[in-house]
């Protein structure tokens, strides 16, 4: 029997590993669809940002209470994983609380700490479910945000409920184990005197004292298995879910844009043409463009589209941003266009980008790795009305707790619309032609530019 459990456990680990690896490969291939861009420079600065924003969750604390609650789940997730190590070892070796005899002096302290965290996680998940479904925090409310309808709200709820169940299983497993230990049954009893009752689960013991020994062992085994299988299922599920941020949040922050927020990425391929049109020599070009668009290998061999129509026109970081998004909606809550009822929602821009990537992935799985459908991000997922509503105010970029940049995607889509399809609102076309002809966005004569000077010495 013991061997059977061990074999089943190893099989479960292997199956989980296989699914997760498959998903990781697919997702990393999807991200690499994006255009190349070297973001490796300034490692020290990047590391610092990652420590502050990802590990330290600095931006989450803009709202202190929510920041603390999220930190409890985050710390719980990372620290309780230490206990998972023991559980996995026990599973493979068929042992029970393998580490306890070796680290007896600190073992109770560790488990107590895990239990407090588990209880914290459970409590915060209850609060988060309440925020979603009872107090209905605006940015999380699907009635107010069409991008949350159906799957996204379910996804969020599944995860919170799963966390509550997992934490309860962990705590009740400890409780049933404590009762078995008290009764001195089998290998459970061997730890009598080494492992005491734990800080939270001791209060759950009354649930189990009435059970027979067999029923108790049954519950102990069942809760142990459900807990670890739940965690394995969670590991696979996460790769399909918005909760992928627990892994991608870190690299996503590491590769943050370090430029001033106001700076829009240059298009070196345009610079070259413009300089030729203005009669500047190639030497000047090389000097004028110290980043050397053509020399540093950042540019693709053949010049693709101007701007972005689909995900492969975007940069890889835009696509990693999309997979890292947790759909928290802080961006959308800060967006002036969204606040005033326009269709634009920065969160939807990120979700659409990920949906597009997921659809492409499904195409690969179903129809072979070179499959490409006829759809495109702009048009089939994001509409022109949405991107044209953006004021480029950067509020979404600043609001994101993990430095996702929806604005960068919006601007690349605009470039495609204007430069490849020559489609802009009529008044924008008028503005363009004014700049072209009058050197100002309005129809004024350039020679009148200095007229204000006549009034400087006038008395008011």
């Amino acid at each position: 029997m013991a061997y059977l459990e061990q074999i089943l456990f190893v099989v479960a680990v292997a199956v989980t590993g296989w699914f997760v690896t498959k998903r990781v490969k697919l997702i990393s291939r999807a991200i690499r669809l994006g255009r190349a861009e070297d973001r490796s420079a300034n490692a020290a600065e990047r590391l610092k940002i990652m420590l502050l924003v990802a590990f330290g969750q600095k931006k989450m604390f803009d709202n202190l209470l929510v920041g603390v609650m999220h930190f409890i789940i985050y710390a719980g997730f990372i620290i309780i994983n230490v206990e998972i190590l023991e559980i996995i070892m026990d599973g493979i070796l068929g042992t029970h609380r393998l580490f306890a005899p070796y680290i007896a002096p600190v073992y109770p302290f560790l488990i107590n700490f895990f239990e407090i965290l588990a209880f914290g996680v459970l409590a915060v998940c209850v609060v988060f479910l309440t925020r979603r479904w009872v107090t209905k925090v605006s940015r999380l409310n699907a009635d107010r945000h069409r991008e949350l309808k159906q799957w996204p709200v379910k996804d969020a709820t599944y995860i919170l409920v799963a966390e509550i169940v997992l934490m309860f299983l962990f705590l009740s497993w400890n409780a049933s184990d404590s009762v078995l230990r008290d009764r001195g049954i089998g290998h459970y009893g061997e730890l009598q005197g080494i492992v005491p009752d734990f800080v939270i689960s001791q209060f759950l013991k009354p649930m189990f004292t009435g059970l027979s020994d067999t029923a108790l062992v049954g519950y102990e085994r069942a809760s142990w298995w459900l807990h670890i299988l739940g965690i394995m299922a969670f590991a696979v599920y996460v790769t399909y879910s918005k909760h992928l941020h627990i892994a991608l949040g870190f690299p996503n922050v590491y590769f943050s844009d370090l430029k001033p927020k106001g700076e829009m990425a240059n298009m070196p391929e345009v610079t070259k043409e413009v300089q030729l049109m203005l009669g500047l020599t190639p030497e000047q070009t090389a000097e004028a463009d110290p980043s050397g668009g053509n020399d540093n290998g950042e540019q693709p061999e053949s010049i693709g589209r101007f701007g972005a129509k689909d995900v492969e026109d975007l940069r890889w970081i835009n696509l990693m941003n999309a997979y890292s998004c947790t759909e928290c909606g802080r961006c959308t809550a800060a967006c002036p266009a969204n606040i005033t009822g326009k269709k634009l929602s920065p969160r939807k821009i990120m979700m659409d980008t990920r949906d597009r990537l997921e659809d492409i992935q499904q195409g690969w799985v179903k129809n072979g790795p070179d499959y490409k459908d006829e759809k495109s991000l702009l048009g089939d997922y994001i509409t022109v009305e949405e991107i044209n509503a953006c004021t480029t105010c950067q509020a979404c970029v600043v609001a994101c707790p993990i430095n996702i940049n929806p604005l960068d995607i919006i601007l690349q889509l605009r470039r495609y619309k204007v430069m490849e399809e020559s489609q802009a609102p009529g008044s924008w076309n008028a503005m363009f032609s004014n700049i072209e002809n009058n050197m100002a966005p309005w129809k004024f004569s350039p020679s009148d530019r200095f007229n204000w000077a006549e009034q400087v010495n006038e008395t008011k």
Binding site: G262, D289, C393, V398, F432, P441, W442, N451
Partner: protein
């Protein structure tokens, strides 16, 4: 600038007036106020006059990269031709574009927004707010420009300039990094807003009016228009005025 160059003189700064400062009747008054302050202090400055052209910001944000780069490369040729080193501008969009986006195209200058420049003059004691209108006891609220604030993290300079007025500076609910846009950026100024249930400038003007301030201070030509229109929309234009920070300083100096 051409005249100074011909006379063999070198200005302390180049004042980049911007299109709004050159052509928009309301913002021309800001240009004039700022120039009066510069003259009063005795800052040796130059302007490009008819040689100045749109930086290309609205074209770039609307998606027209070609037009932007045509403007940028031409402007850089002019600026480099005059060997310009230090640029001051009253427009956060020009400020952002020249400061952050021209270097990659060969234009490297020290670029300062007029709020920071005025703050410097005040701190050095070269500008003293005296001899004009008194602001004591008056309530002023400052509206952050996105391209000054979030885009370039200039939050304190305009506030410190306003502090020199000795007025009562009251803040809106959403300020600094959380400040709400006036609705003009990203070339929105040059087209109708997309369908929605409210104009952004009305939302922001209501927030500004809720502070009870009689003056809304801005530091951007587009915020100026949007906030003024928002105040009019709320029929408060007789009670509440929108001014650029340099206009307020000039008023305080009686210039």
């Amino acid at each position: 600038m051409a005249d100074m160059m011909a006379a063999g003189e070198e200005p302390e700064i180049l004042f980049w007036v911007g299109c709004a400062g050159s052509f928009d009747d309301r913002y021309k008054r800001v240009t004039i106020a700022f120039v009066r302050i510069l003259n009063h202090v005795g800052v040796k400055f130059a302007v490009l006059g008819p040689e100045e052209a749109c930086t290309g910001d609205p074209a770039r944000r609307a998606g027209n990269e070609f037009l932007f780069q045509m403007q940028a490369v031409s402007n850089i040729q002019v600026l480099n031709g005059y060997n310009v080193k230090k640029i001051v501008t009253a427009c956060p969009h020009c400020f952002n574009t020249i400061k952050n986006e021209y270097p990659e195209l060969g234009g490297n200058y020290e670029v300062i927004h007029h709020s920071t420049f005025l703050q410097g003059l005040i701190n050095e004691g070269r500008v003293r707010v005296e001899g004009g209108e008194s602001f004591k006891g008056r309530k002023i609220t400052f509206h952050d420009s996105c391209y000054l604030g979030r885009a370039n993290k200039v939050y304190e300079a305009p506030r410190e300039v306003l502090a020199a007025l000795d007025a009562d500076l009251v803040e809106m609910k959403r300020v600094r990094a959380n400040g709400l846009c006036c609705g003009a950026g990203g070339a929105q100024y040059f087209k109708d807003a997309e369908p929605g249930n409210k104009e952004v400038n009305v939302e922001r003007a209501q927030e500004a009016l809720a502070t009870g301030a009689d003056t809304i201070a801005v530091a951007c030509p587009f915020c100026m228009t949007m906030m003024s229109d928002g105040v009019k929309n709320q029929n408060q234009e007789d009670r509440v005025k929108v001014y650029d920070i340099s206009e307020l300083i000039a008023q305080g100096q009686g210039l």
